[in-house]
Symmetry: D2
Subunit: 500 residues, 4 copies
């Protein structure tokens, strides 16, 4: 019998499997060989290549048939978890070719590499892999946007102190905050779309970067692999093997920055000192030594992984700097960098989605903080500007005095007496009655008053929710269409294989 986890007696719930896998890191878990991830892409690429070679009469039909049978057999074996990379072979490409040579002899297997170079093979495999990653990230982002919309609906009227400089600034609502993340995430998704539009081109046929004298049909292979077409210059994708990697890295990095800031906000909000929210037990961890702890580990780890993303991006860009003409082996390392980064960060949006969706908020404390720290003062100031036509700058000066005087009285809201004295001292004589003061410092009426686009009033929030709700189906359609393009390609390839 094994002992259990060294903490946890205090928790009501089992830890989330997702959170555990996200936070456990690589302590007791190693990483896969990089090329294991590439096996399905390598096979897809080779199948498309062989079909094309045969169609172009560069291979005999019979040769093509054997090669395709072999490639499909490897695919099946891989799906069953039986095809392992032989470390004595250099990489996935040589593993596959060797398997075919072993199986069919060099007269057949030795033809797979016709009109190919490892340069274009790995460029192809990576592009297929990265394209998948881009779509996966996009799907996770989309799901998170929907969580933000749903939570924004629930909490559109839930008061929240808004901050600047970590100091209470102005009252807002939790829904308003979630919508701001919804907006940011749409841009994050947009970066993965931009990636797709920029890089969904087939490098296959580029060879070493300088093309081939064999009569290959690059349009066909591009179509069979779900690309929008072939890269228009054979050198470009070989020379720039850091570029799709770096652009994906930047998209991940920007996304992680958004998540890290929400993480930091939730970490602070969930402290006892702020006491605004409570993270679900399933996303907290205990301590090996302190029995009372409920630590927000997944959020801290999102922050750490954001640092990871920034470093990986630097490495990717650095590798791509000042490269000499043509392929440089240096770029091989972009493979590991981007794969590690994807592995570390792909689940981050989902972790955040679950944590946000299970968050409990303390409405009492939220409302309470919305009446402290002079947080309602800016709105009172606007009221004075608006109601009495005082120039902003003079009203502001008076209000600064009023804060000081009210604070001296021991409170943290503007008092009538303080305001009057302050106005007087600034040479402003306005008739202000207690009701105005009170009403204008009432948080709920404050948030309702901010009606301009993007503001905190129910109508403004509704408009923001609606615009996001109009956006998500468009994004979802885009994703479906890209998936469709892929499955169409796969079907066409299967069809052409069957025709052999």
């Amino acid at each position: 019998m094994k002992t259990g986890k060294l903490w946890g007696k205090r928790f009501e719930k089992k830890p989330s499997v997702l959170a555990e896998s996200f936070t456990s890191g690589r302590d007791v878990r190693g990483t896969l060989p990089a090329d294991e991830r590439l096996i399905p892409y390598d096979l897809w690429g080779s199948r498309a290549h062989v079909v094309m070679l045969a169609k172009q009469k560069i291979l005999l039909k019979k040769e093509g048939r054997d090669l395709l049978a072999g490639l499909r057999a490897i695919g099946k074996s891989f799906e069953k978890g039986e095809f392992r990379l032989d470390p004595s072979q250099e990489d996935v490409h040589s593993n596959v070719e060797s398997w075919l040579i072993d199986k069919y002899g060099v007269e057949i297997g030795g033809r797979l590499h016709t009109a190919r170079s490892r340069n274009d093979q790995i460029a192809l495999d990576m592009r297929l892999y990265l394209r998948d990653c881009a779509l996966k990230f996009f799907a996770e982002i989309l799901a998170l946007i929907e969580v933000f919309i749903a939570q924004a609906k629930i909490y559109q009227n839930t008061l929240l102190p808004g901050y600047t400089h970590h100091q209470p600034a102005q009252v807002t609502t939790l829904g308003h905050v979630y919508l701001s993340y919804g907006e940011a995430l749409v841009r994050d998704g947009g970066r993965f779309q931009s990636w797709f539009e920029r890089f969904n081109r087939s490098p296959l046929g580029s060879m070493t970067g300088y093309g081939t004298s064999l009569a290959i049909d690059r349009e066909l292979t591009a179509r069979l692999l779900g690309f929008d077409g072939p890269c228009a210059n054979s050198l470009d994708p070989i020379q720039n093997r850091w570029e799709p990697e770096a652009e994906l890295g930047f998209a991940i990095s920007a996304l992680m920055n958004h998540l890290s800031s929400l993480a930091q906000t939730l970490i602070l909000f969930s402290t006892g000192e702020f006491g605004l929210v409570r993270l679900d037990d399933a996303y907290c961890s205990g301590s090996s030594m302190m029995p009372q702890k409920r630590n927000p580990d997944p959020l801290e780890i999102i922050k750490a992984k954001t640092s990871l993303a920034q470093g990986a991006l630097v490495s990717l860009l650095s590798i791509g700097r000042s490269l000499f003409l043509g392929y440089n082996r240096d770029t091989q390392w972009t493979k590991y960098l981007i794969m590690d980064l994807v592995d570390e960060c792909l689940l981050a949006p989902k972790v955040m989605a679950e944590m946000v969706a299970t968050l409990r908020v303390d409405e009492v404390q939220l409302t309470n903080l919305c009446q402290k720290g002079f947080i309602t003062t800016p709105d009172l100031l606007e009221r004075i500007v608006q109601g009495w036509g005082v120039p902003f700058r003079r009203a502001k000066a008076a209000m600064e005095r009023a804060v000081k005087l009210s604070a001296a009285e021991g409170g943290d809201r503007i008092t009538l007496s303080a305001l009057k004295r302050a106005l007087r001292e600034e040479g402003l004589s306005l008739k202000i009655d207690p009701q105005v003061i009170a009403a204008t410092q009432e948080p709920r009426s404050i948030v309702s008053g901010r009606k301009a686009i993007g503001g905190t009033s129910p109508s403004a929030l509704k408009k923001n929710i609606q615009s996001l709700q109009r956006t998500t189906p468009i994004l979802r359609r885009w994703l479906a269409q890209k998936k469709k393009q892929e499955s169409t390609a796969k079907n066409l390839l299967a069809q052409m294989e069957r025709d052999f």
Copy 2:
């Protein structure tokens, strides 16, 4: 009388003014206060804001008229170089407001800040500034693409040794290489377009991030400032004041990576050892001590500035990591980072354009190197695969032997005898005659043979040129349209001002 430069007696030409300014760095030249760059944007923003306030009756018409007159006066003074920032005022915003207060009294000037916060003012100024930068980079990139197309046309048939791993790989043409940069630059341009599509939204009216109770019209100000509309959530642009900066930084960084690699290639090509090209005197510099030097300084400095870009991007992303809810002062520094980066890199494409356009190539040496280093071997190998139906892998093994044997004979092309022996040793008996060997190793016929899309044959190059030539007008139209949007906005604003 001042002494002249400490070197240069050897040069035929004066140094290029552009190159000098690009390479001189900040040795004898300081940098401007950051906010000087923002003056025109700040004024534009304030004019649009005042027009809107008056339209919304938040200001009296008369108040608006004075403020607008003041803002225009500052603008004129600035254009004449007479409006300088007073360092005792904190920034451009307070400088402008103070000027108005000094001129019109606090009763008028003190109203400029109505329904504004410095948070949204700087967010606006920066977005206008960054938008301009994005369009300027785009224009430079476009001009460079056109240089690449023009040079590719000139040099489409000029033989060039293609490399991988810094070793001769396969013959290509200089035109082919330039076209690969044309392709890469289209993506670079695309990143600035993506920036524009993502960020051409007005943050004005966001206030501190939480909106305002004053009845502002954000659609109107967005239109008057040439935006596609207002940001849909007021917190988003304030919280994420690192994001447009970082995305521009990434776009610059990727562009610089491409330029740095071409720079590195030209540096090597222009060494005496390679001897393939000669940089124009106007872009070389001498030494303070070595009279013989013709140093490729602008190219080296492109490499250095690429490193700069990578570091600046890191700083921008780092500032934006783990920010707490709302504005954080930390983000102020994104301003200097991106401005410095723009200043350092904006001219890089033009420098490269001039250097490429004035490059002299040594066709004799180019052709010479296209016959050395067994560079023609891969094409001979393809010929054997194609002509005799030998499996690629077997033909490759034979050719490896042939290289070794030919090298032992002292040459660096495959000899007939070596090839024959090699084939025999690999168990291949093919009838190969001297003509085939010779013809297949003839560089010009090699490049002509690679006909697939993206390849080096005249027809393939022509196709690539044509596709780029179809692209550039589209890009140019896009740019014109964006400029149009800006001037339309300015005209509309002027119109509305006149209506006061």
Copy 3:
């Protein structure tokens, strides 16, 4: 008359001049030409060089005398602020040489560059400049360590909740925390010392990197410039012109990381929610629009500048990567990077020193938080392990239950009843009386009980204070000795000049 600052009516104190200059950034202030900073170092280097040339008979005494007079004249003019760099000359070196040629004719002035190259001149200037920076940072760090010691003495018994994961972990004292920063800062200082030991070698005489046939005396110039000796190989300092820059950059970056973490801690501690400390008015700023704000800007900006440091370090290392043999112009940009970084960060320790020294702590709230959030539980757990010989892991399990049970009772300390039930449920039957529970959860007795080295008891803190107090005089002596070495060198040089 100019209007004043746009906020501040609320503050008791004028803002600190230091804080203002630290936070204002480059909004209304540009940067100096880089080489202006180098003028004094360039002159010092040239004077030492000329003295040596004359001593070695490479110059006639008379020639040396004129050159020295000229260099001294430039120095005087510079001190009076009258020597400005002429931008039409490339850099400080050519400015100085041109001045001498203009003054004394080429027959005299044209000899300054004898046995020199700009490569070794700039390497020398930068090393002198960087050495000064290293000593300046070291002095600032030392001063900050002394503030930490002084504050630690004042606050050694001031209770403070210690955190892990942003959650209350165990009680500590403010003194304990300050001492941890004292320790970290000693290492920070150590990095600048390491820099000095590693790089206080003279590159002068390296020429272009390959030496000179002129009979120079590098030992002498090294001595006249306060170095520990000449670089032992002429190529090394020229090839590696990124290395002293990057190492200084790393030292700054590590220092800033420490400061940023203290900044982040103080930012949170000074929020109303934590309410543990209050920053002095002189280091807070107001808002242009929110009258109530007291923003911790200098602390936020320390965080931003930490991001700056990380990016600059990357750029420095990136420039130094994969350089070809000998000087590369790329490295010129290391100059601006490190100068900017020094300018941004040199005052950070002083800002922190002043903010820490003027911090007010709220002992009531501190003590209050030291009794909440089950923060005393770990110490109660240790008490049970110690007092009843229960295996740690069993006691921990029981205590986890006790936390849960006590929380269910509504409190945030362990209650006797909860503890008893928890122990019982874990199969432990211990006799525990109320006094033990109470005493063991009394914060002051808790901190006093942790007597091991590095702990929180008065004796342990005293020991830590003493060890730091033994260290600072050693550091101060080191600094004095390095300063002495410099002034000795200057005196010797002046002496030799007088002997002409």
Copy 4:
């Protein structure tokens, strides 16, 4: 039967096992769980801890005896490759504790964690691991320095063109270049020494950062673990868990920068165009498709890994930025970052050592290039300054003209006629005879003439070799002493264990 590698028929030698493992990357090889590396350190730490607990009577002797027996048993099992981490346990610490609990019951095993926290356990494990890494890097660097010294002796007189800006600058010798790397590597080694001096302190006993009320003896455990003493403040090592990692990361990054520049230099030197050196077959790789290739992969990969190091350093520093008081889970990721970096780079110095030691140089081509590209001009210029007392600046101007005139004559050395005309045109009438011109442009006499410290003359090189040769034994002694300290500690611990 498996097919062999897909290239290689051309090579005389088998690839170096070292080079293969260095270049193969993670294509077909995954990474270990991070904590596997930590098992021996974790066990060592726990043994020292248990011995101390028993000595302090915190454990009964009998309890200590069982725990020690268990820990030794795990150690033996690990050495036999039989102790694997159970992924259902969180990390190495819980794996070990669980094993002990399973074996001896919770009454014994449950006491291992007495007076410990995972925070100080991992801090300890990492410090022991990093210390080992620092010593391993130091040893590799030392070995490489010795290779540089040995090669410098062999090649001290081998002429080599020295470059600046990738252009021939001045003649030097290969020995001179190797010595410059020797110097740089001494500084690299010094950084690992600085690391050791700064961080060889025991964090054990820090607990969560706030110490313990149990009567532990931190001096003793520090001694038993080979430390120079305990960390003087318990919070410091827990708060700064990024710092030893980042400093090691910087040391690695600086080292890699040096190696990358030598790599880049050798890559260029080994091109056919430069043709100066030939890499040994064992360190070149072929192509999957181009039979002629001899690619310098290990050198390219050194460059890539240098980029890796820069990114990892950024991530480490970024994680350590703006951390709140106490342990933050974010820092867990520093573990993977530094481990990956060590794995990638530890062998880089050895790879370089082997490649340098097996390099073949083409003395003919070296000598040939030492007479081209006007590379001897600067020395001729010095000769004129020296021999005729011409001011440097005038001589330089004349020599620039002479270069231009000589080039017009078609050569790339200064001709007598050109020089004469140039001098005349500059108004200098010197009597210069052909012998002087010839002799002064003779490369061997040039390098011999540069006698100042650090120069290229035989005597200067000898001096540099001697100074390095005096340094290496000191470094070796330092290393031996540190190893001794470790073994002494282990012996003492074993002794104390036996005394149970």
